[in-house]
């Protein structure tokens, strides 16, 4: 039994390593401008934030809609603290160079992004986490909106550059960078979920009254989940900033949170691997595969394909989403995880079934 587990673990690690290796090879082979890499980059960033949201909504049963707000905090923190000093004058053109006149190394910037997001989450959590389901959702949504307004306020321009976007901060070139960072973060989240704390979170999700009666401090654990989730949301925000090479508060709308939530649901609430898979699919569909639907003059042979014109892509996409939400309420993975042992079980079952058939035919 234990041996099996170990073996499975090793195999799955090998699989993951293989994926990274393949990407590395592809980067060497394909032109760097290929859409594939864009999707992989954005996909892995969204995977991270989706998993962090899943930790909250899926594993702790806290329905929070503040993710975009915490990504914003992360993105801005990273941008503000890593813009090279000599560039600041150009970036903060209306705020004579801004008030911060130093810059941190990339790595520190990313960590700090997480920390700041987590810190705000802690403060926000103190009052908000007392609220019940929908009220919590709408309150966190509200906080995201407030943060957005604050960061666009020109009185804070010296720090946030007001409504104008931040740029010129160090960014990544290789696809492996976001994949690695996201990978590590997700690994940490998984380890948390499988730890005694993760089990406590699940207990709260299943029945908070019982959890409390069994000595689990609700307030503390909820705040813990909320803060940790926001920490990783912040880091993904920093990655998003690097991916876009510019940051602007205007883009972190509630619509962004909804997108992330949809990713989580499509992947399966309470399934990490589900969130990861679905975020890549989601990004690939919305940004790449379906783009041809926007092309008004598409011909198959000489036949002019009707309906196609800008906007059609999104219609098709949202119909697909509704279909999934309605027909696969539990998402791609349900609350199961994609695991080697699971596959082995399936294969075994199939074999058994085959054997039975043979019996039958004889």
């Amino acid at each position: 039994m234990e041996k099996e587990k170990k073996k499975d673990l090793i195999i799955s690690l090998a699989v993951i390593a293989a994926v990274y290796a393949i990407v590395a090879v592809l980067e060497a082979v394909l032109p760097r401008t290929s859409m594939l890499f864009t999707v992989l980059k954005k996909g892995s960033i969204y995977a991270l934030v989706a998993v962090s949201m899943n930790l909250l909504n899926g594993f702790t049963g806290l329905f929070s809609l503040g993710q975009a707000g915490f990504m914003l905090l992360g993105a801005y923190t990273y941008a503000i603290f890593t813009i090279p000093v000599e560039q600041r004058a150009a970036v903060y053109q209306y705020f004579d160079g801004g008030i911060i006149q130093f810059s941190l190394p990339v790595f520190l910037g990313i960590i700090l992004a997480g920390v700041v997001a987590a810190f705000f989450a802690y403060l926000i959590g103190l009052p908000v986490l007392k609220l019940k389901s929908d009220y919590l959702a709408i309150a966190t949504l509200g906080f995201a909106e407030i943060i957005r307004a604050l960061f666009q306020w020109d009185k804070l321009g010296g720090l946030t550059n007001g409504s104008n976007l931040l740029r010129r901060f160090p960014v990544f070139k290789s696809t492996l960078f976001p994949m690695t960072v996201a990978g590590i973060c997700i690994a940490i989240i998984v380890m948390l979920i499988n730890s005694t704390y993760g089990r406590a979170f699940k207990a709260i999700r299943d029945d908070d009254v019982a959890a409390e009666a069994m000595g689990i401090n609700l307030a503390h654990h909820k705040r813990l989940a909320f803060t940790i989730s926001s920490f990783f949301a912040g880091i993904s925000g920093a990655l998003l900033a690097m991916f876009q090479t510019t940051v602007q508060a205007a883009q972190f709308k509630s619509a962004m949170t909804y997108e992330i939530l949809l990713i989580v649901v499509i992947g399966g609430i309470g399934s990490v691997s589900g969130s990861v898979i679905s975020s890549f699919l989601f990004i690939a569909c919305s940004e790449w595969w379906l783009r041809f639907l926007d092309n008004a003059d598409t011909y198959i042979g000489s036949f002019h394909v009707p309906l196609l014109r800008p906007g059609f892509r999104k219609v098709v996409f949202s119909i697909v989403i509704m279909a999934i939400v309605l027909l696969y309420q539990r998402g791609i993975m349900g609350d199961k995880e994609f695991s080697i042992s699971g596959i082995r079980k399936k294969i075994a079952a199939r074999k058994a079934a085959k054997a039975k058939k043979k019996e039958g035919t004889k």
Binding site: Q248, A250, A323
Partner: protein, 397 residues
């Protein structure tokens, strides 16, 4: 039931994959060589309307001149149009979409924010871009792959400030920008600088995205006793502001930048008492043969092409951005000819020396990659006819 859905989904994805793959390489319909020009414009979002008018100009130019002679061989020019949805987070993927389609150079975008956001993507992919009407300095600043054929906000802002003072004797101005929009915030900023330099005072306010209720803002302008109302915002907001100004009987003139040079604004201001003036790149009523032929040609093109007509806002009033799009296309062709190659790097080398006499005046680039423009036209709405009225040619004192 579920099975069929699965099938459908799989089918869809596979088909789209084929398309995504296939879209990389495609020969011209007549089998001739193809050069691709990327059109990086918003077709939706706040700047959708303006983006479409700009795209229209490019499309018309492409319809007039569908081929170009590069290094002795005739190339068919193929436009690759992508929608950046007027939002910075979609901008990057939209830009890399163009790059991955292998375009030689890019035109656009309407709206400075998305241009700035995509700048680094083009630069890192070594694809030169020619901004059409993105007037924020940040677009070309420190990015040797981004050029533009329009004037800049510092210039435009100063022009408007001067105009406000000279023509309306304004002492106090009300400036309204959209929160989180580089273009309007930037232009307001320069306007305020210039106007205060001229000894005026300014009340500056911003409205959050998705605002449709401008009553309070117009009321603020009245309350603070301003002489001019300066709001270089997207034309979606423009229409609502004019509407509201009319409702509240706003007596002060409204000033705006190039974005407002659009038939949407004309439509909104027609039959009202609102006095709207804009600075712009292009005036229709000219006798220059090049311009007249462009105007008549485009009008007939619009008449013949229903979708183009709707994209232009339902009538054949020609917006400055359309003219600019038209010029941008020919500037691009000039660059291709001069470079004698379809490689981005080669084009970028020659771009600084490219010149072209367009319908919006002479186009040449300075060291920064910005157009050398010393004058801006000022137009005002004729409320009776709902047409533009040429006022003056303004230049900075």
């Amino acid at each position: 039931m579920k099975k069929t859905i699965v099938l459908l989904a799989v089918l869809l994805v596979s088909v789209s994959l084929v398309f995504a793959g296939g879209s990389g390489e495609s020969a011209g319909s007549k089998g001739s060589k193809v050069v691709k020009i990327g059109v990086y414009e918003p077709a939706s979002g706040d700047n959708g309307a303006g983006g479409k008018q700009e795209t229209l100009g490019i499309q018309y130019a492409n319809y007039v001149t569908p081929t170009v002679n590069i290094g002795g061989t005739e190339y068919e020019v193929q436009l690759v149009i992508v929608d950046n949805e007027s939002s910075n987070d979609k901008a990057v993927t939209a830009a890399s979409e163009l790059v991955s389609k292998g375009v030689s150079l890019v035109l656009g975008s309407y709206g400075s924010g998305v241009s700035i956001a995509a700048g680094d993507t083009f630069a890192s992919a070594e694809v030169p871009a020619i901004g059409v009407t993105c007037t924020n300095p940040q677009v070309t600043l420190g990015n040797e792959w981004y050029y533009r054929i329009c004037f800049l906000d510092p210039f435009q802002g100063t022009v408007l400030a001067n105009y406000a003072k000279d023509s309306f004797g304004a002492k106090k101005a009300y400036a309204l920008a959209k929160l989180g929009d580089d273009y309007s915030v930037g232009l307001c900023n320069y306007f305020i600088k210039a106007f205060e330099a001229l000894g005026g005072t300014v009340v500056y306010e911003t409205f959050p995205e998705g605002t449709s209720d401008f009553a309070a803002y117009v009321a603020n302008a009245k309350k603070s006793g301003c002489d001019v109302f300066f709001s270089p915002v997207s034309i979606e907001a423009a229409a609502l502001i004019i509407e509201q100004a009319n409702t509240q009987g706003l007596s002060m003139p409204i000033l705006a930048g190039d974005t407002w040079d659009s038939n949407v604004v004309l439509g909104a201001a027609k039959g009202t008492k609102v006095n709207v003036s804009v600075t712009t790149f292009f005036v229709e009523g000219s006798t220059d043969p090049q311009i007249t032929s462009f105007v008549s040609g485009l009008k007939s093109y619009l008449a013949s092409n229903a979708t183009a007509m709707t994209n232009n806002g339902g009538n054949d009033e020609i917006a400055a951005v359309t003219a600019m799009g038209f010029d941008a296309y020919y500037t691009a062709l000039e660059a291709l000819k001069k470079a004698g190659s379809t490689k981005g790097a080669d084009i970028q080398k020659v771009l600084p020396s490219v010149t072209y006499k367009g319908v919006s005046g002479d186009i040449a680039f300075d060291a920064n990659g910005d157009a050398v423009r010393t004058v801006a036209y000022v137009k005002k709405v004729d409320n009776a006819t709902g047409k533009w009225q040429f006022v003056s040619v303004q230049s900075v004192k």
